[in-house]
């Protein structure tokens, strides 16, 4: 179902064009993409500033001063907005009752998925890039200065975001808009388990193996390594990527299975607002 054969760039381009038209037609959508990351960044940035000023009262303030909080919140936004960019683009088809038009056209499921990935990147560029620039201006934290480390973090996070987006889209196809809340909320289960704001060692021993199954854990541990110890743990990045590959493959199979299941159940003609 997700075969790479006979992929058409023209059809992928058509879908990207469709979502670009949609974004252009709705300034609230563009505003919303920037609004939440900006609010998050400002909140955590000011909290970081407060904690740094409370040196002697708060332990590990040196680590905080290095930007672990604001860096983590920016990477978290890449993860969350990457998944939502994928899932919300898919949801647009459900809301507009257009999914049947697409699935009866020559568009292949793999092309549809690639177009959703591209849109996830475009929405990230619109929503998160300005916020990373604001972080430099407001708090002097430059995520881009991490260079190769940032690129590695980004790849691990975005592939995981696409995996979750793919799974959510499959569930939406099969079960309809009743499952819509998953698109908004599923990623939040990663927040406590992905160890975004604290090291894995903080969690109880029995929970730690679960954390290490999640690729974001490797990224946020890696971020702290870079900011505090000034070392990029390539072993963490490679392990994160390997788990990502497995999860993405699993999500692709799940999507294909859920699509086939939706065809069997006849739900593709019943999706709607």
């Amino acid at each position: 179902m997700i075969a790479a054969a006979a992929i058409s760039l023209g059809r992928i381009g058509a879908m990207v064009l469709r979502y670009t038209y949609l974004l252009r037609s709705s300034w609230p959508r563009i505003l919303e993409m920037v609004y939440w990351p900006a609010v998050q960044m400002l909140t955590w940035g000011f909290l970081q500033t407060y904690l740094v000023r409370a040196q002697g009262v708060v332990p590990n303030s040196a680590a905080i001063a290095a930007g672990t909080l604001i860096g983590a919140v920016l990477l978290w936004d890449i993860l969350l907005r990457g998944q939502q960019g994928f899932s919300f683009s898919f949801l647009e088809e459900m809301w507009s009752r257009n999914i049947a038009n697409l699935l009866m056209s020559p568009l292949r499921p793999a092309e549809f998925v690639v177009a959703l990935m591209v849109m996830s990147l475009i929405r990230l560029a619109v929503g998160v890039v300005p916020v990373t620039l604001m972080a430099i201006e407001f708090f002097g934290f430059n995520l881009w200065a991490l260079g190769f480390a940032f690129a590695a973090f980004f790849v691990v996070l975005i592939v995981f975001a696409w995996s979750v987006g793919l799974l959510v889209s499959g569930v939406l196809l099969r079960y309809g808009l009743g499952a819509e809340n998953l698109a908004w909320s599923l990623m939040f289960i990663i927040q406590p388990l992905g160890c975004i704001f604290y090291p894995v060692a903080t969690l109880p021993g029995w929970l730690q193996p679960i954390c290490w199954v999640l690729p974001p854990t490797y990224v946020f541990e890696g971020l702290r390594g870079v900011l505090i110890d000034h070392v990029l743990r390539t072993d963490l990045m490679l392990t994160g990527l390997a788990i990502d590959s497995l999860l993405f493959t699993g999500a692709a199979f799940a999507f294909a299975w859920l699509l086939a299941s939706a065809r069997r159940a006849g739900t593709l003609l019943q999706t709607g607002e």
Partner: protein
């Protein structure tokens, strides 16, 4: 035993040499005629063949085992033993029919008769429980993407993105279907379907009639060889509906397009269709031209025929399965 209407075996055999047969996508060497057809008679268990009014070299096949007839037919669609069951509910019972290239066939039946499910299965949106669908010789279960570009569909059950303008929507679908010169194609369709004045308005702001015309433009964007229409004139005022029917008639004639039309509007079916397939509770209960149905049921209009079938007042002479 199924009825044979104007069957002439020599014409079917002659159609093997017709170049249009090769264009239908069926392998030239596949299959042979059943022995009974070569003898010029039919048995209970073998397929029967009906001449269709609008395709001199084509045959419409009703019955089972029709794959053996593929090379002799200029056929757009073959549905064979199609069945759909949802848990314990049978939506479509084993259903077999075929459509000759260039024909317009009405799919009639009450609510829940299986029309939309049948069309959904033909489009690949619903997976049949059993049976097969071949479009221009391609098996829709395994080869769907080879032929989807030659088909299209319009239905009130599907919509187009409301925030995009009509032009943007049509441009996206033109690109999805690989239409060259999409701007020219959109301009021609806009002219033909009287969309010009609202091409740059959001699709969601249009009236029901305008939306139907836009949906029709989307369904015609790739000049489909097989067009499936589900209630194409539902919610249209009589004038617009008449206009859409006239357009479909012209389009079918000019492009030799094959049309399968599900409708509850009997006047529309009588006007557009050269053949009618009647479904009831998922089963094919009759299959003939409108004129034949009227004669068979002794009625003056298809609405009365529909009511006879729907209410079980079946006293037709020479019914297909009588």
């Amino acid at each position: 035993m199924r009825r044979i209407s104007a069957f002439r075996a020599h014409e079917i055999l002659d159609s093997r040499d017709n170049p249009t047969v090769r264009d239908s996508g069926f392998p030239a060497s596949a299959g042979t005629l059943p022995r009974s057809l070569e003898r010029g008679n039919l048995s209970l268990n073998e397929p029967t063949i009906q001449r269709t009014p609008h395709a001199a070299t084509a045959v419409a096949i009703v019955g089972m085992g029709m794959s053996s007839l593929l090379p002799t037919s200029n056929v757009a669609l073959i549905v064979e033993d199609l069945c759909k069951t949802y848990n314990t509910t049978i939506a479509v019972r084993p259903l077999s029919f075929s459509l000759a290239v260039g024909s317009t066939t009405g799919l009639l039946g009450g609510n829940g008769a299986g029309k939309t499910t049948t069309i959904g299965m033909i489009m690949g949106l619903i997976e049949p429980t059993s049976g097969s669908i071949r479009v221009f010789g391609h098996d829709m279960a395994h080869d769907r993407h080879r032929v989807l570009g030659r088909m299209n569909f319009e239905s009130p059950y599907v919509d187009m993105p409301h925030r995009l303008t009509v032009r943007q929507n049509l441009r996206v679908f033109a690109q999805l279907y690989g239409v060259t010169d999409s701007a020219g194609k959109i301009a021609r369709l806009a002219e033909d379907l009287a969309l010009v004045e609202f091409l740059d308005r959001p699709s969601g702001s249009l009236s029901a009639g305008q939306k139907t015309r836009v949906a029709l433009a989307k369904a015609l964007i790739n000049d489909p060889e097989l067009l499936l229409l589900d209630e194409p004139t539902a919610s249209l005022d009589p004038d617009t509906a008449d206009w859409v029917r006239a357009y479909l008639e012209t389009h079918r004639r000019d492009r030799n397009c094959t049309i399968l039309l599900a409708s509850h509007n009997m006047a529309e079916v009588e006007r557009l269709c050269d053949r009618v397939i009647m479904l009831k509770q998922g089963s094919l209960v009759d299959d003939a031209s409108p004129a034949e149905l009227l004669a068979r049921y002794g009625r003056s209009n298809l609405e009365d025929v529909f009511l006879d079938v729907a209410r079980g007042r079946v006293n037709a002479k020479n019914r297909v399965d009588s």
